[in-house]
């Protein structure tokens, strides 16, 4: 036992070190040019004097352009020719911070930005010293005046650049109105003052509604109408400014990204990458676009011309007569060229091309030399083509050739394509060091798990084969996207194996339990349809959150509450007088219920009126905060009471403390779960009680079987709760429970618990199952021994091997098309599984439970 413990204590930190090395090489900060674009002496005349840049977070293309949209005024701008609409393809990761970087600097985002998006306090993401179209305004002869209202990400990215600003935090997702009123309330004065050159507005309401209720939430039409009214107000201002001040104003309306069918974003599906984009100005009517709006809704979210989101950057810069930012890989939008004469058009595009050529030269050290590394090979042929086009552009009489604009666009588009593919340079040596380290350690762990744990041939064989298949499956991009199928598939296989084993010992009870578990599994697999291929298809969660099933949902939620109440009453407050026991177990449950109820009401979920009536409801963020705090407080009190009563109790029951603590922990997990997922806990509880019963039959269950079941149920429950290997499904709606401001540690813990509630549940349940097995089998081994030698060794070996496989996949497939969309998020999730779930929950908390149960 002791050597095993020591080995894990030795392996875990070293593996983490290996992971660190690998991550350092794999997620480098992207090489960017510092400094600013040279001021061009001969730029085409500016078309616009002022820019209003209105970002509506998660404004998907169809929200504006389809005939189901309620943005009537905006659509009338298109059909009257005063606005040019586009679908802007946002590069993943489709989260706010990298997208804002994209639409201001014009550069391809760095994958690590997705993480920094969550770690809000991080200041390393600031764009100080990097060129952007905002900075270009400040670099004018007479520095421009910039104002910003909305998402405070802008303030973090551009510290000190805004003359007036008001930032709003974007992480209280349940707030639909305050975040936007905070922006709109400044408009009256700002439009009257009108002394600014750039006004940035960033509205968060649409994104919040999406996260809470999806793209078809009942709140969405009204919110879009509100946005439409703001567009109207801004456009009217632009018209007036044109008449009275003679200043032309460019209004840009855009989404930073879209959202998928359940309202999340972060990944790379069609809905998430399709952001709406609209350039509007009274000047545009003379271009005569002749477009019609609204259009019929399409499945691929492609409306009008599809351009890259970064194309916004050169377009704005060109229209206001500023130089193109240094790191820009955007291409000037062709439709906007018509403002200029032919010679000016060529001049503009040539500047765009020269600026992009500077990046090409820097990226591929020398454009004259063939490039040798993998990325160069990938781009090899294109590089030749680019060089050919560039030579053509450099010809002395290029401007007089047949179609210089076409040639310039061919050059720009190809360069953009190549540059967005080769956006990062890996530090291969650091990756190799990490990989080798983890390879050595994980093979050590795997060998120990197979040869030094207790003898149980069938389980070990299943473990070895399963782990190997899993490790291989990680190299397939669609198997990563659809990882849940692997776990549902192997869970049924494992149950089947146990069923065969139970038939061998002729245990009918065990057979029936296993069939019931199979039944529970088949409900779980349809609870959330996650992944890519069938994401958003009709599932139990969608049914439960529909209006007709609201009653059923809340009956199930109540049932779960009753179950918690019963468990607290029975396992925690068993020794006190009945009345006190009732009150003590009722209080935490009712405070949990009222918290969940007010959260649901706040989010606009449908709640049966009977229940809504009995809960004291006064909505508002403060109220929610207090209810969350009450819930947490009651959990702490329960825990303190339980500890004291166990210590003082005269009866010696080894498992009384851990069992009670388990049920209190479940209470905490439910607090961190959104209402539609609370009924899953009934299924988890069913699995737990069936597994515990199975553990009592020591002929069927062995410690290794418990470990294997725990591993499988952890993953199954993770995916059944709607998680996936895409960043889009990270659920932050419960990360701010009881927290009034942003601080990394509590928010991080709450976010982890709310996404890993299932895996945590099964770690605790599995650990207790081991002790039940020990009692029933009358084994001479101590529970610590079973836990460390069997449980930890196997779980650690599995996670180490899967970490190795993911790192290997990222290494081998580093020039794969899906490296940033599939494998990098998978690596991040694996870090979560490895460090937090395995390192913190399985190892530390598990060990704590086992040691405490032995002490008491």
């Amino acid at each position: 036992m002791i050597p095993h413990a020591l080995i894990i204590a030795f392996l875990l930190p070293l593996e983490s070190l290996g992971l660190l090395f690998f991550a350092r090489g794999f997620f480098p900060y992207k090489p960017v040019f510092h400094g600013y674009a040279p001021i061009e002496s001969d730029t085409p005349p500016a078309v616009s004097d002022k820019v209003i840049f209105m970002v509506v977070d998660a404004l998907r293309s169809d929200f504006v352009f389809s005939n189901e949209s309620s943005m009537r005024f905006t659509q009338s701008l298109i059909s009257s020719g005063n606005a040019l609409p586009f679908t802007a393809r946002a590069a993943p990761p489709t989260v706010t911070l990298p997208r804002i970087k994209g639409v201001t600097t014009g550069s391809v985002s760095n994958f690590l930005d997705a993480v920094l998006n969550i770690a809000e306090s991080d200041s390393s993401s600031s764009l100080v010293g990097q060129d952007s179209w905002l900075i270009e305004f400040k670099r004018r002869h007479v520095p421009g005046k910039l104002v910003m209202f909305g998402d405070d990400t802008w303030l973090k990215l551009f510290p000190g650049i805004f003359d007036r600003y008001d930032g709003t935090s974007s992480f209280f997702v349940s707030d639909f109105t305050e975040v936007d009123n905070n922006v709109t309330r400044h408009l009256d004065t700002e439009l009257k003052t009108s002394d600014w050159d750039v006004m940035i507005l960033h509205y968060l309401g649409v994104d919040h509604i999406g996260h809470k209720g999806g793209p078809y939430s009942p709140f969405m039409p009204d919110k879009l109408k509100e946005m439409d009214q703001i567009v109207e107000m801004l456009y009217e201002y632009a018209e007036k400014a044109q008449e009275t001040e003679g200043k032309s104003t460019l209004l840009v309306l855009c989404g930073d990204h879209g959202m998928n069918e359940i309202g999340n974003h972060g990944g790379s599906s069609a809905g998430e990458t399709a952001a709406a984009l609209l350039f509007a100005s009274p000047l545009f009517s003379k271009l005569g676009s002749g477009l019609r709006a609204p259009l019929n809704a399409t499945d691929n979210y492609e409306y009008y011309n599809v351009i890259e989101q970064v194309d916004i950057v050169p377009s704005i810069s060109g229209l206001v007569g500023n130089p193109f930012p240094m790191n820009n890989i955007g291409v000037f939008v062709p439709e906007l060229l018509r403002f200029w004469s032919r010679s000016d058009q060529i001049k503009l595009l040539r500047q765009n091309a020269e600026q992009m050529y500077r990046i090409l030269k820097e990226t591929f050290t020398s454009m004259d030399m063939p490039v040798s590394d993998a990325q160069g090979l990938l781009a090899g042929n294109d590089i030749d083509k680019i060089r050919g086009l560039w030579d053509q552009i450099g010809q002395p009489y290029f401007d007089e050739t047949d179609d210089p604009v076409e040639t310039l666009y061919a050059f720009l588009r190809l360069s953009q394509n190549v540059l967005s593919r080769t956006s990062s340079n890996y530090d291969i040596s650091s990756m190799v060091i990490g990989l080798c380290l983890v390879f050595w350690l994980s093979s050590l762990a795997f060998r120990r798990a197979l040869f030094s744990t207790s003898a149980d041939f069938v389980t070990k064989a299943v473990f070895a084969v399963g782990t190997t298949i899993y490790a291989i499956s990680i190299f397939g991009s669609s198997l990563v996207e659809e990882e849940h199928y692997f776990w549902y598939w192997s869970a049924s296989a494992w149950l089947m194996t146990q069923f065969i084993l139970s038939a061998r010992v002729k245990s009918t009870t065990a057979g029936l339990i296993l069939i019931s578990l199979l039944g529970v599994l088949s409900i779980l697999r349809h609870y959330h349809h996650t992944g890519q291929k069938y994401a958003g298809s009709y599932d139990i969660a969608q049914f439960l959150s529909s209006d007709i099933a609201a009653g059923l949902l809340w009956v199930l939620i109540l049932l779960e509450h009753l179950l918690i109440f019963k468990n607290l009453h029975f396992y925690v407050f068993a020794d006190v007088s009945p009345l006190i026991a009732f009150v003590c177990s009722f209080t935490p449950v009712i405070s949990l219920f009222s918290f969940k109820m007010s959260m649901a009401l706040e989010a606009g979920e449908k709640v049966p009126p009977v229940l809504a009536a009995i809960t004291p409801t006064s909505t508002g963020a403060d109220q929610l905060l207090n209810r969350a705090k009450t819930s947490f407080l009651s959990i702490v009190i329960c825990m303190v009471f339980h500890t004291l009563s166990t210590v003082w109790s005269t009866k010696r029951d080894q498992f009384k403390f851990v069992r009670g603590a388990f049920h209190i922990a479940v209470l905490f997990l439910v607090v961190q779960t959104s209402s539609v997922n609370i009924p899953i806990f009934l299924l988890y509880e069913a699995i737990r009680s069936l597994s515990w019963r199975l553990a009592a039959d020591s002929r069927v269950t062995t410690p290794l079987a418990v470990v294997l079941s725990t591993l499988i149920w952890q993953r199954v429950s993770f995916f059944a709760a709607g998680n996936s290997n895409s960043l889009a499904t990270v659920d932050l709606s419960n990360a701010y429970n009881g927290v009034s401001g942003y601080s990394v540690i509590p928010v991080g813990i709450l976010a982890f618990v709310s996404n890993f509630a299932g895996p945590i549940f099964f770690t605790l349940s599995g650990t207790l199952q081991l002790s039940i097995w020990k009692t029933s089998s009358k084994s001479t081994r101590s529970v610590e021994d079973i836990f460390i030698v069997d449980f930890l060794s196997l779980i650690h070996a599995f996670h180490a091997v899967s970490l190795l496989a993911v790192m290997g996949a990222c290494m081998v497939l580093r020039s794969h098309l899906f490296i940033w969309t599939v494998f990098s998020p998978k690596l991040l999730y694996t870090v979560g599984w490895f460090l937090l779930q395995q390192g913190a929950v399985d190892t530390i908390i598990g060990l704590f439970i086992v040691v405490v149960s032995d002490l008491l």
Partner: protein
């Protein structure tokens, strides 16, 4: 029919099963054994090829139309290769004709019973992850095919009692082609589900084409393994 000519051998070999749990596999004498086995072995790969090439166009139609044909092939196979399960109590006094009739009636009974158990197999497929609300006809026909491939021969080979079936589930029953073919069918159907989630966008990735294919291939392989290893006392 096969039983009539096999009587001399029948008398020579002790008819009471050596193991109380199941009837051991007996060689057939109407045709040389290897002819029967090889024809049975050939039949299913052919069906597999035909089915899998036709299936993606309209799985429900093809599965439905091919069902009687598969039933017929299976019935013929069973009639020619399987000994009738002999009730242990009255194993000695059987007459030739009665025995022949017994084989035919067992086969018919087995066919009817396996068809009746199709909804049960459908339920098992759902438990293992088949679609619940959509593709119900496809899943049902898949279950019918599975019943013909896996259940039908077993029902005709092994007596219907709890001990035998527990042993069958526990992988403790003696090796016969019927048994290994059934195990192969199950394993094949289970492995057949693997390619469905992949993003290859092939027409054959639709439910239940790959599972049908897996079941048939598994069945053929199982039969092959059974033919090679039959006579071995126990599976594991």
């Amino acid at each position: 029919m096969a039983r009539i000519k096999s009587t001399p051998r029948q008398i020579a070999t002790p008819s009471a099963p050596t193991s109380a749990t199941a009837v051991p596999y007996k060689p057939n004498t109407l045709f040389p054994e290897n002819v029967i086995t090889s024809s049975a072995l050939l039949a299913f790969p052919i069906v597999t090829v035909i089915l899998s090439s036709l299936l993606p166009s309209d799985p429900v139609k093809i599965l439905g139309y091919s069902l009687p044909a598969v039933a017929l092939i299976q019935a013929v196979n069973i009639l020619f290769t399987n000994p009738a399960p002999e009730p242990v109590a009255k194993s000695s006094g059987n007459k030739k004709k009665k025995q022949a009739k017994n084989t035919v009636s067992t086969t018919i009974l087995g066919l009817v019973l396996s068809m009746l158990l199709t909804p049960f197999i459908h339920l098992i497929y759902v438990l293992f992850g088949a679609p619940v609300t959509v593709s119900i006809p496809a899943t049902f026909l898949l279950s019918a095919h599975t019943a013909l491939l896996a259940l039908f021969p077993i029902l005709c080979t092994y007596p219907l009692d709890g001990v035998t079936w527990t042993n069958l589930v526990a992988l403790k029953a003696p090796v016969t082609p019927a048994y290994t073919a059934a195990l192969g069918t199950i394993a094949g159907a289970w492995l057949g589900a693997v390619p469905i989630p992949l993003d290859w966008d092939r027409e054959w990735q639709i439910w239940p084409v790959t599972v049908v294919f897996g079941a048939y291939v598994g069945n053929a392989l199982g039969r092959l393994v059974g033919a090679v290893f039959s006579g071995k006392e126990k599976m594991l």
